[in-house]
Symmetry: C2
Subunit: 437 residues, 2 copies
């Protein structure tokens, strides 16, 4: 029997996750749209045998966005280009079910899966940016519950389209001249609340059967959705206890939905600051913190809390009591409020805390210390793996691959080599049978 090992996603986000990453002297801000930069990162990640690269996405900008979310490469084009210059690493892209059509999404992921020979994954999001509505001829963002309702139907349609082609349908028999058996393809003929889609898909069965499905909503609706459809769950967790509770909840919900809990992997985000000494790691952290422009930090915090106006407050005041509800990202809002209350942070301290990793688990220390923390979360039922969010690239990743990965390998906690060729192989996820369910 194989030993349980950690999984790693590498979360690409411009030149780094820290809000001031672009100001770091080792970084060129233009890299955020420079393919050679992403190619270099992908190569390092593949040397480190990481499971997958992950690209987030949004379909609108506003002045308060994280700098990495102002201008950026589009996930399908970026990941397809990376597919051509890598061999093993998985390629996960974000696509919204709120502002897309299922036929396009099914097809692009199937195509990416073909081009990469089985390395594609879809991070299914419902869009947290309310402004996306205005770029798609809508007057308002769809309401939170309806977004998830639409997402369920959207994923059903996409799953159905990926099953368009029976394995024996496309025979392409050169001697008889029969290209395919039309009676063995499966039009979908879906007629639902949000979509009508006839099918079949003009893409043959994806090499992985279907691309891996990832989900990252942590609200109640989000967790229920994940329990039904996700094979990987990304999540932002600041403390071990919260992470353990989340882990339990999702696994139990999955079991209740009739699924094998081992087939839904929980991967919290983690932001590692790695130094030869703890002191060096801390200096790295402080160097970035000092590069935060206060107005930008404050605006960023305000945005994360649904656009709250801080103009009546001093930076040294505590977070106000009455933070209004939002139709955007509810779980992130709650995470940030909890963090402020728990640690009694001032407004300034709070924006400084989220500027680095938006509330995700942060580790500052030596390679041994980083490995210890990851191991602890992994063994204490808080994580099946981690979504790595380096403060700035490529340095953080380089240190991690050179110094942390070998420690984890020595401890038997991480692979020394890719054992299979597909992302499903790396993650230990089953290949769906070629039969419509």
């Amino acid at each position: 029997m194989s030993v349980r090992q950690m999984k790693f996603g590498l979360f690409l986000m411009g030149v780094g996750h820290h809000i001031a990453a672009w100001r770091h002297p080792d970084v060129r801000p233009e890299w955020c749209e420079d393919f050679t930069f992403f190619r270099r990162i992908a190569e390092i990640a593949e040397q480190g045998k990481l499971d997958m690269l992950f690209v987030s996405d949004g379909l609108a900008i506003e002045p308060l966005s994280h700098p990495a979310e102002i201008v950026r490469l589009e996930p399908f084009t970026l990941l397809a280009a990376l597919a051509a210059v890598t061999n093993r690493i998985g390629l996960a892209g974000t696509a919204s079910t709120t502002y897309n059509e299922p036929f396009h999404i099914a097809r692009k992921f199937s195509s990416l899966d073909h081009i990469s020979r089985g390395r594609a994954a879809w991070n299914i999001v419902t869009s947290y940016y309310e402004e996306e509505a205005y770029n798609f001829s809508q007057t308002a963002h769809l309401e939170h519950r309806l977004r998830y309702e639409r997402a369920r139907e959207f994923v059903d349609v996409v799953n159905g389209l990926w099953e368009s082609w029976d394995e024996e349908a496309l025979i392409r028999d050169q001697s008889s001249g029969i290209y395919f058996h039309a009676e063995k393809w499966r039009p979908l003929n879906h007629h639902g609340t949000h979509f009508s889609v006839r099918g079949p898909l003009n893409s043959s069965r994806p090499p992985q059967g279907k691309p891996v499905l990832i989900q990252a909503g942590s609200s109640q609706d989000g967790i229920r959705f994940a329990a039904h459809v996700a094979e990987v769950v990304f999540t932002a967790q600041s403390t071990l206890t919260d992470a353990q509770r989340f882990y339990q909840t999702v696994k139990q919900e999955a079991a209740r939905a009739g699924r094998n809990p081992d087939h839904i992997l929980i991967m919290p985000g983690v932001a590692p600051y790695i130094g030869r000494t703890e002191q060096e790691a801390r200096e790295q952290y402080e160097q970035l913190q000092e590069l935060i422009v206060p107005e930008v930090g404050l605006a960023f915090l305000s945005d994360y809390l649904g656009g709250i106006d801080f103009s009546g407050y001093s930076l040294d005041d505590p977070l106000p009591d009455d933070i209004p509800e939002t139709n955007g990202n509810q779980s992130r809002r709650q995470l940030i409020i909890d963090l402020a209350r728990r640690e009694r942070l001032t407004i300034r301290q709070l924006y400084q805390r989220i500027a680095g990793a938006r509330g995700h688990f942060t580790i500052i220390g030596t390679p041994e210390q980083v490995a210890d923390q990851l191991e602890y979360w992994f063994l204490q039922g808080a994580a099946d793996g981690f979504n790595l969010m380096f403060p700035y690239y490529p340095n953080g990743l380089q240190s991690f691959v050179e110094h942390v990965i070998p420690i984890l390998q020595k401890r038997g906690l991480f692979r020394r080599n890719y054992e299979g060729t597909t992302l499903r192989d790396h993650l230990g996820l089953p290949v769906p049978k070629s039969i419509r369910v």
Copy 2:
């Protein structure tokens, strides 16, 4: 002053344009979804200094489709992957304005232009497959005139989104911490008949200012549209006279629309069969013709004529007189009817003729003969270049690059080396100024 030289696009279409290409003994039918196959083709094309690769597209299939249109790679993912493994060749992808949203299209082409460092082009189509409607929650295909009306507005929005970022807007000044000047970006605030799009685009100004715009509609609406927006026009022409007339019409319409006629290049499709002797070329042609399954050829013809039912006719009858109108591809339908009447073809002869290149200009001969024909069309005001449609890949392309290109180079009709780095450079098209018009 630089001499006028031919431009070449390479039309990728599965394993070849001939309807029986997949049955050819040198071909493996699975190549149609195999990225390494397309990579090999792209490399040969780049050795030949061709201007661009071109990928067609459709968003539905039906049993009668050309085999290359049953399952295929999706253009954005295919072209982005090719961008990563090529250096100079242009990358043109087809995207429909009828079943897409302008924000997505503007963004994906901008991203492709960034990844390829200025080699992207958009083949703007209005969708000729009526069945696409059923994959996008529509009950009927939008009417021909309305498709073009929507296309005009769609292109206006995309052009506007590409101008979101003034060249000085994104200053990214590391020392002051100012990432961009929000007052220098340009939200679009478009409110039209078909779309409302706020903008700005979350992608900086494309390296080419804007990707090259290609159009291929040949109906009256199509030509008018091309004259206004296209920089390259693809067209199917069987005879020199028709091609000359089309060339004149488009250039005059462009001038009437206030444009410089040199900035709209006319590129008819051409299907070359190349042999060491004319006899060898003809045998190559015959070999493919013999591989056509009669039912498939007939179904293909019927499809191209809007679904006409041939069941009451013998294959040796002439084409019936009353071919019904279609809401699909009108210019192609007319081209095929004209061909049948002009050459008094039987139904069998007609499907055999379109099986190779769907009515496009076909040349069968030695490298010298092929070069002569291309030169003739080029010098007689019928073409600024050609869209190469090889019967099967990679052999046809390989012969062309090895034997025809050197002849054209010797005659001064084609470049010996890429002189610039972008597709606009290759095609001699101007870079738009960074000012909203």
